[in-house]
Symmetry: C2
Subunit: 328 residues, 2 copies
């Protein structure tokens, strides 16, 4: 029995002395996600954009996911119509502005549009905050309220009502979060999708409803969040953004190419649902309503893996990109 | 006299009916800055980096400003020593990771270092918040305190003490600001330079003091603020970042080029003070302690010019880049 006790004591000591497990990298957390955490993206929600081949004839394919309802649906209906009409084939990337956007469409601005394009007068942002997001935030505020009360009990002068302001420390909104796979921000009575790296938006002229969806851009620099609510966000690049972000910058105003020969030709843009089954990219995104995503977001905000010594203690919404992958 | 009165009345009416002046774009505010608002950058604080010529033999010159004291000075002393020894000549850009960094140095990791490199054990961030920044923030908190009291008088339950938390709504720090021309962030007892687009930092291995300044990178994507305080920031690209940000992305781990032939050769890196007078770039930055900068920052946070309909009401520190220019 003494031996048994000794072994037990040694075992306990071994437990006590075992080093803490190495902090996981965000990528490791994502790699360990159960299959059920991944959500298939429907082929009608994917755009496949082919530029003409690049250096050494290498293909340049870009896969874009279109935003789900309730966001920007009038523009997205138009984008589907344009893709089905093969309208973008032979158009080009006409503008690449450093730390801002790469933009494509009809450089001549004279190409006839297909029939069936709808009005786009309704901006995508005047939407009520979804109930589940309200509930999640209410719980967060409630928890902060409790924490504040406990701080208050210690003699610190903290007003719990201020917690409502601190859902996220975002300079552009009352709060940000991920919702159904997308980064969103909310004001007092509305919510909207945000301009992170790789987001796709609708180019337009001065009038808010001027853009019909034929002129598109993607963000290739620091998140230009001042565009939020001013321009319709319609999707995000899932794969191949390097074919746009590494293009030479245009030297004209706003990064437009001055020499038409510098424009980069678009071979085709199709909905994945227009492609033969074998050619469709099968993409998934990590559900943002899972424990895996919460752990991933926490790890992004508090890097302790690799060479990180000082965890940040927070992360802005655009620094927590939603993981995507090819369906295994 | 009646005629005079009538003319006066008409003039008053004309004033009353005159449309509000068009909101100024941030760039217009900067263009109107008096000469005294611009600060010359000393040639010892400028690095001039020449890649080998690009497409059609076009030169690829990058101008970098080194950070002033108190930040990262041990690394900056090393960088000056390396430039004076022509150490980088013949090295290369070895890593370009999309939405992250372009990194350069000796790909072989075997090139002998010059004599005189110093230790870099002191991290650049363990610095006291400068008095003037503390004073500015205290005034801001005081003003918000007064505003909150007035809200409170209207029956709203807002605790003025919470104002201290709201110097800036930054997820990574207690507050951010511009200070002596640079974006900085502060915690309770320290302050540090932040990783915005175009900032230059010191590559390193696992140990915090592993980087000596020979391996450098610049940010070419959304601000990776989680690197703040983990890596020494030593400068920022003032001109020519497009020669790095538009390079092909590496396909190896972390964006390293797998084929050595893909590396981009560095012809030379020199301090401007090493160059003949006629070849020195003469650069200026807009003083961040001026009314012009305050108006510019406000306009960046509340865009009403051009096609903007919904001013953001705020901006993150990296979305208010410090204006720089060639000295006129």
């Amino acid at each position: 029995m003494l031996v048994a006790m000794l072994i037990t004591l040694l075992a306990l000591q071994a437990v006590a002395e075992a080093p803490a497990p190495a902090p996981k990298a965000p990528s490791e957390i994502v790699a360990a996600a159960p299959a059920a955490d991944w959500i298939d993206i429907a082929p009608e929600d994917l755009l496949v954009m082919q530029l003409t081949p690049g250096a050494k004839g290498a293909p340049r394919k870009i896969v874009i996911q279109l935003m789900p309802a309730p966001f920007s649906q009038p523009w997205i209906a138009n984008i589907r119509t344009l893709a089905k009409a093969h309208w973008w084939d032979g158009t080009s990337v006409n503008r690449v502005q450093d730390n801002y956007v790469a933009q494509w469409g009809d450089a001549t601005e004279k190409k006839a549009l297909p029939a069936g394009l709808g009005q786009t007068s309704e901006m995508g942002y005047a939407l009520a905050i979804p109930q589940e997001l309200n509930r999640k935030w209410a719980e967060l505020v409630e928890r902060r309220f409790a924490e504040s009360k406990s701080e208050f009990a210690k003699g610190k002068n903290i007003d719990p009502s201020a917690a409502a302001k601190l859902i996220s420390r975002d300079p552009y909104s009352s709060g940000t979060d991920h919702w159904k796979g997308w980064p969103v921000a909310a004001g007092e009575r509305s919510f909207w999708p945000v301009h992170c790296y790789g987001m796709v938006g609708v180019g337009r002229n001065m009038s808010p409803d001027a853009g019909n969806g034929a002129e598109l851009y993607t963000v290739i620099g620091h998140a230009p969040r001042h565009l939020d609510r001013n321009i319709a966000v319609v999707g995000r690049v899932l794969e191949g953004i390097e074919h746009l972000s590494s293009l030479p910058r245009g030297t004209g105003a706003l990064g437009f190419y001055e020499d038409p020969a510098d424009r980069v030709s678009i071979a085709s843009i199709r909905l994945a649902s227009q492609l033969p089954e074998a050619e469709r990219p099968r993409m998934q995104y990590l559900s943002t309503e899972t424990a895996t995503f919460a752990a991933y977001a926490d790890a992004r905000a508090n890097r302790k893996d690799a060479f990180f010594n000082v965890p940040a203690g927070g992360a802005d919404i655009c620094n927590v990109p939603v993981p995507v992958r090819r369906k295994p």
